[in-house]
């Protein structure tokens, strides 16, 4: 019965999305009296979509095996957390989560947004409804999560063991909040193009929503990177896998949007460009969803390979993205370009930021699609690996962080290079000192990591420069947000460069009692023992790591899951203040020796610490902006 309740809620939500779209269209066509009807419909639609999602979660938690999706992805032997998270660890469930969050985004706009002109808001909610409608249809006609299975099996098949991890339980919801949250900016842009109201007020209204989605996206990517790092057991933190790229592309576009929105809100420049970025950011989210869900690009993350579903999503993409871009092409020409500015100015640096981010986005997109392109042209199957991405995007990214230091120190409209030079003298000096220190202390570091370390030092100091000479208690919260966000970039860059420059790795075959050396660590292999967990068995090695001081105990496991039968590698990671020791156990041989992979990764944790700082910066910015808007509104009410 429960499953049917979920399905009914989903149908009703779809019907309400249709109603929302129709009301918005009629209201904009002149039936002004309908304007007030759109907001409540959006809220009820969200409640129904969330109800359907809650029903699916319940089915997974109680392991209702008469539902096909549950039987295929759940098992009563799984711990509660993974039964819960299993609801979105599969194709249908994750799509349902997608539309539930889309509904939620629309409801948030309907309830909270007070700054947009009412007609633009209604056009925005109409756009949201149109997007929702297509994805509801996809769920109802092509991937119904509530499909019954007759007869019900005695036991389910379980969740992919790689996904049975606490980090993974909350990684997809976070990432999806970011992906789908960008739909708000997309709908704002379409709404404003429809009502021809692209101006600074639109940017001010859009900014908190972009910031919110961007924070979730940042957190999701950071968490996903850490998950891949410790769960896949390959020792890397970013693989340029299509699914990772699918999350990076919207992030790049959203980061560019975040900065161009600032220009539009403050200086009323870059109108058409900002609107296009708002369209592109969410388009990248949808393209990412499509690439992952269609199985058109093979990846470790892809769930189901089903070309019919792929075709369905592709049609939706063509409609929404094509429609929005056509609207942009037709209307953006009529948008008055805002105020002008000199190249050396805050605006100029933000334009450079936008161009570089767009170029990196283009590089990632081309690299991700290149295998498809090559197959279409030459019929060859190939993949593009880290060498391409690192070599093409790396230098641009370094240039970008350099501009990131200069930007906040420039004045709006026009500034002088000499003045900028004085402001960045101290960070530049620090970077130079770091360069000399590195060349002396650690010769032989490759160019890109070397530049990364040098820049990280300069950027870390330079990102704090906007605070110099300010009364810190009176500094607005969003300035703190920017400073901390930029500092986070420097911290993450330091971690990436240090990992790349100083990682030590060894692969050894040891018998119990033998030792190996990796970096400063001496590692003794004590024993291998079988152990059992709630739904797995494992071989667990005991290692003692020592570099003077108290020895560390590490227990990497090779886990074996019976349902579905899969082996996973559980790396044992010891975190010290100056890096991580990363150990993986491999296969044993007849002579009783075991393969061990050992890494010493100095300061690798800074990568994710930096990611978290960037997100914290986003949150502070968001709170600061919302607070200032509220104060301004109160002042207005007082007058």
């Amino acid at each position: 019965m429960t499953a049917e309740l979920g399905l009914a809620a989903l149908w009703l939500a779809a019907a309400l999305a249709l109603l929302q779209l129709a009301l918005a269209a009629m209201a904009l066509a002149g039936r002004e009296e309908l304007l007030n009807g759109v907001r409540p419909v959006a809220v009820v639609q969200a409640v129904l979509a969330l109800l359907a999602f809650a029903v699916l979660i319940r089915l997974f938690v109680v392991v209702d095996l008469s539902v096909e999706l549950v039987a295929l992805n759940d098992a009563s032997t799984k711990p509660l957390l993974y039964r819960f998270a299993g609801a979105w660890g599969n194709h249908e469930g994750s799509m349902l989560m997608w539309v539930a969050i889309l509904g939620l985004s629309g409801a948030c706009v309907a309830l909270l947004e007070r700054r947009l002109p009412e007609r633009t808001l209604v056009a925005t909610l109409g756009t949201q409804a149109a997007i929702g409608l297509g994805f509801y249809a996809f769920l109802l006609f092509a991937s119904n999560p509530f499909q019954r299975l007759v007869p019900a099996p005695a036991e389910g098949q379980g969740l992919n063991p790689l996904l049975q991890d606490p980090g993974l339980a909350f990684h997809p919801p976070t990432l999806y909040l970011g992906y789908v949250g960008l739909s708000i900016a997309f709908s704002f842009a379409c709404g404003a193009l429809l009502t021809r109201q692209v101006d600074a007020a639109l940017a001010r209204a859009m900014r908190p929503w972009v910031l919110g989605a961007w924070v979730f996206l940042t957190l999701g990517i950071t968490a996903g990177s850490y998950w891949a790092y410790y769960e896949l057991g390959w020792g890397g933190w970013w693989f340029w896998d299509p699914v990772e790229n699918a999350s990076l592309m919207p992030w790049l576009a959203a980061t560019a949007l975040l900065h161009s929105v600032a220009v539009l809100a403050t200086r009323d420049s870059l109108r058409a460009w900002t609107v296009m970025l708002a369209v592109v950011a969410f388009s990248m989210s949808m393209i990412g969803t499509f690439l992952v869900r269609s199985g058109i690009l093979t990846s470790v993350h892809a769930f189901a390979v089903d070309p019919r579903r792929g075709a369905f999503i592709l049609v939706l993409l063509a409609l929404y993205i094509g429609g929005a871009l056509a609207l942009f092409a037709a209307r953006a020409g009529t948008v008055q370009e805002g105020r002008t500015f000199e190249p050396v100015s805050r605006e100029g640096s933000l334009v450079a930021n936008n161009l570089l981010l767009s170029a990196i986005l283009g590089i990632v997109l081309v690299g991700t699609l290149y295998p498809l392109l090559a197959e279409a042209v030459t019929g060859e199957k190939l993949s593009v690996g880290p060498p391409y991405f690192n070599a093409a995007a790396g230098p641009l990214a370094l240039l970008l962080v350099t501009i990131m230091v200069a930007g906040p120190l420039l004045r709006w409209r026009r500034d002088r290079l000499a003045a900028l030079g004085r402001r960045v003298a101290l960070p530049a000096g620090l970077a130079l000192a770091a360069l000399i220190a590195l060349l002396v202390a650690a010769p032989g570091v490759r160019l890109l990591p070397l530049l990364g370390l040098v820049l990280a030092a300069g950027v870390a100091l330079g990102s704090l420069a906007p605070l110099w000479g300010r009364n810190l208690r009176r500094t607005p919260m969003f300035t703190w947000g920017m400073v901390i966000g930029h500092l986070g970039v420097a911290v993450a860059l330091a971690g990436m460069a240090s990992e790349s420059a100083f990682t030590r790795e060894t692969l050894v075959a040891l018998a119990p009692g033998q030792t190996a050396q990796v970096g400063p660590w001496r590692i003794r292999f004590d024993a291998v023992e079988p152990i059992a967990g709630p739904n797995w068995t494992a071989l667990e090695a005991t290692l003692q790591a020592d570099r003077g001081g108290a020895p560390l105990l590490l227990k990497p496991q090779a886990r074996f899951f019976p349902s579905p039968p899969t082996e996973t590698s559980e790396a044992a990671i010891a975190t010290r203040w100056d890096g991580q020791l990363y150990t993986v156990i491999g296969k044993g041989d007849e002579a009783g020796r075991w393969q061990l992979r050992l890494w010493w990764k100095p300061f690798v944790t800074l990568i994710w610490l930096g990611g978290a700082l960037i997100a914290v910066g986003g949150v502070l910015s968001l709170l600061g902006r919302v607070r200032r808007e509220r104060r301004a509104a109160e002042r207005l009410a007082w007058l």
Partner: protein, 179 residues
């Protein structure tokens, strides 16, 4: 910049996107080659020798397969739920005269005895593959899987997943064809 050039530029994103859709659509309609085909079909079995999984039954080695008669090699484990559901089909195949050997993956004798006691024992021999090495060598990624081996020791069929009632006829046909 002249206003006309800007107008024209505004259509560029849409044109690029149309190109993307065309590319991806062509990728979707070209027949997918993602399907995993067993690489080992038509190839002789790799060499292996597994110790007995139970004291009362012989183990399984490469030399015992391919001695003139086709045989089934069933990869299973007592901890595997689908393996229990295919026991009835294995019994049917045995009644039809098919000789079946088993490879028990990461199993313990006491669990195995209990499993065979409950679901029946169709196996002539059971080899113990404690670290999945033979399973890997056979190109099998999970349990259960079933191989049809012909009289010359060549792999004729790899059935991935449990044998459901509707699969029995196909497996029997493969055994016949391997004679």
């Amino acid at each position: 910049m002249a206003l006309k050039t800007i107008r024209w530029l505004l259509w560029v994103p849409l044109i690029l996107f149309v190109g993307f859709v065309a590319l991806v659509a062509s990728g979707l309609v070209t027949p997918s080659t993602h399907e995993i085909r067993s690489q080992l079909i038509g190839k002789p079995l790799p060499d292996f020798a597994l110790p007995p999984a139970l004291p009362a039954k012989p183990g399984l080695a490469r030399v015992e397969l391919g001695q003139g008669k086709p045989r089934l090699v069933n990869i299973f484990a007592s901890w595997c739920v689908p393996c229990a559901t295919e026991s009835a089909q294995l019994a049917t195949l045995k009644r039809a005269g098919v000789e079946i050997d088993g490879i028990a993956i990461r199993d313990r004798p006491e669990d195995l005895t209990r499993f065979l006691g409950r679901y029946g024992d169709p196996y002539a021999r059971i080899g113990a593959d404690r670290d999945s090495s033979v399973q890997m060598a056979l190109g099998s990624s999970g349990v259960p899987e079933t191989f049809v081996i012909d009289g010359a020791g060549v792999i004729r069929l790899q059935h991935v997943g449990e044998i459901r009632p509707e699969h029995v006829a196909g497996i029997l046909a493969a055994v016949e064809a391997a004679k």
